[in-house]
Amino acid sequence: MDNNEKIIELKGVEKIFDGQTAVEKMDLYIRKGEFVTLLGPSGCGKSTTLRMIAGFEMPTSGQILLNGKDITNVPPYERPINTVFQRYALFPHLNVYDNIAYGLKLKRFKNTYVDKKGKQRVRVERLSKEVIDAKVSRVLKLVDLEEFEKRDVTTLSGGQQQRIAIARAIVNEPEILLLDEPLGALDLKMRKDMQLELKEMHQKLGITFIYVTHDQEEALTMSDTIVVMKDGDIQQIGTPKDIYNEPKNSFVADFIGESNIFSGTMVGDKKVRFINKVFDCVDDFPINEKVDVVVRPEDVFLADEGKGMVDGVIISSIFKGVHYEMTFKVGKTEVVIQDTIERKEGERCSIHIRPDDIHIMAKEFDCNRYDGYITKRNTVCFADGEFECDVTQLYEHSHLDDEGYLVLENGEQIDLTDVDVKVEVGLKDIEIIDNDEDGDACGTIISIVYKGDHYQIIIRTDEEEEDFVVDTEYVWNENDRVSVKIPKDKIKLKLKAVNQK
């Protein structure tokens, strides 16, 4: 796959459905012959991206280029691209043969021939029955379903229907084959078999495959390149190895495989401190910078107490077939470990992590920042909510008088109503409340990532779609409706530059 020719390129492609952004300005190119997987949780825009490439959806803005030619407005039936649908979408009124031959029968091509008078003429022809027959039986052989030609598609099993759907797409010899979670409806065993078969098929046919899935294992098994997406945005593009070993941020690390994610601080040149211990690492970050540290469970080695780097206690141990999954507790922090040698619950032991297994990435959030304004009641409005705050912090040595006006050090009285301010709230200073009503602002939990000793939760408000990033010890569920409360003294206010004296 060392061909560098771009077969398809998305340039600033964006898709908005009724005001909701499904795909944010996306730039992506795919090389000829590659097996690319778009990977992400549901609703991350991966299917929409695929549908735009297929032509079922028109981008709101941006361009799609196929072999350098703009195909943004070309209808799906004129694109040399075929799709394998999630629910197969076979034609129930046609048998296996007719399903597969559907595209071939529609195909027209120009044939140049010499007529009786010796003139060259061009005639539009369709494929002959023999050619179609040959192609159909060849492709049926490829998917291991010979002799199935006359069968009714509704009598086939899920796996067989899926093979027919693949056969129906590849028989047209498309330049790109799109696969929209094609194995989603199959059972685990069948899915594993099909993964390998698809990979083999890709190597045999040499067609570019673009595959959409939310299953990280599937992506790692099959792809040459993985594109990790979240909220309509590309998070990382890379080979399965890159993505797994060098995740760019904690979302990717958490989504791809199992990970321990810790909050750490850089304490020196290639030295990072987390779980109360300084570790050597290989990534270079500025000293004192807050970072996320990612360690894969299989990269943590257990040793007898006192013989490793950090001592702790095993608090749970579960047999998972190939290995044991154990939870190791250091202080308040939990570390998940996978090992083939079992350590019993309650056993005191020690862990050891190699420097190159410690992956360090810039912390995504260290503080919530918002634009807000002060109300008549000396509260502050931001992120769909109204919060009590201490407005005297805006001016040094000021205080409030009885009527609610701010009195400066020199005795000057100011009305703060509608003054724009910058608001900062620490991640740990936000309290989440289970009830919609009781907090000052409410929203929905859109993400939850475990960071070793706490969870990092993102709550998105309904109207303004502002995010509250919260570090908490308590576990919540994604899509929970919650409200937030912030203690008065934890809201840091700053005047916006314009008003600053």
Binding site: Y102, G103, T154
Partner: protein, 271 residues
Amino acid sequence: MTALKFSRKHLGIPYGLFMALFVVFPLLLIIYYAFTDPLTGKLSLINFIDFFTSNANLTAMFISLALAILTTAICLLIAYPTAYILARTDMNKNGIMLLLFILPMWINFVLRTAAMKELLFSIGMFKSNKTSFINTLIGMVYDYLPFAVLPIYTVLQKLDKNILEASSDLGASGSQTLFKVTIPLSMPGIVSAITMILLPTMTSYVVSDTLGNGNVTIIGKLIENQFSTMYNWNAGSAIAMILLVFIFATMLISGKFSEEGSQDARGGGLW
């Protein structure tokens, strides 16, 4: 003393009695009348022979058939695009458009036909006897159109959009998809529309009486005449039998076309 055992089967008894009394028994009566001579009361085929040797009867049969087939065809031609647009676009998002098409069905049939007569009269369609057949046809189409829209709409709405996308993906243009996928897959709706229109149009003589100006006699009218004017129950029963055979034949043919999914499509979404 034997205890009276109650089993779930016994719940069926009232229905069985009802069926016997109001379905099987009348049917047997019709068969009995159809095959007996009205004068002597003996078993005979005279009623059928009379029907098939009378020119007037055969003409009525032919007109009924022509009327039924034309009405069905026109209804389908109007209903299919209507149902397609309602099912495939945003026009019917809240169901109001569909309701407007169905609403006439809930207004008394006789009243609607009378209103149609006034309408046709006012545009001069009653000046000549030549337009009697056309008038009847217009009335029939107007009365039976909802019965075509509803089942087709129901089937089209249930159609998996992925299948249409797959067709487009494999190289079929919009019209190719329509003829190769959409119409074949909506056959159950079309067939149920046909069964719901074809047979009633042959017998609903209210329309032909009101709009046909006395020039259009359909098979339903013949039956009515035999029973209420001529008091010849035997001849009337024979015609009813002929119609029944015809109904079975159409059911058999249409059943062939809608082997799958027709049960749920028949009757449409409103009942």
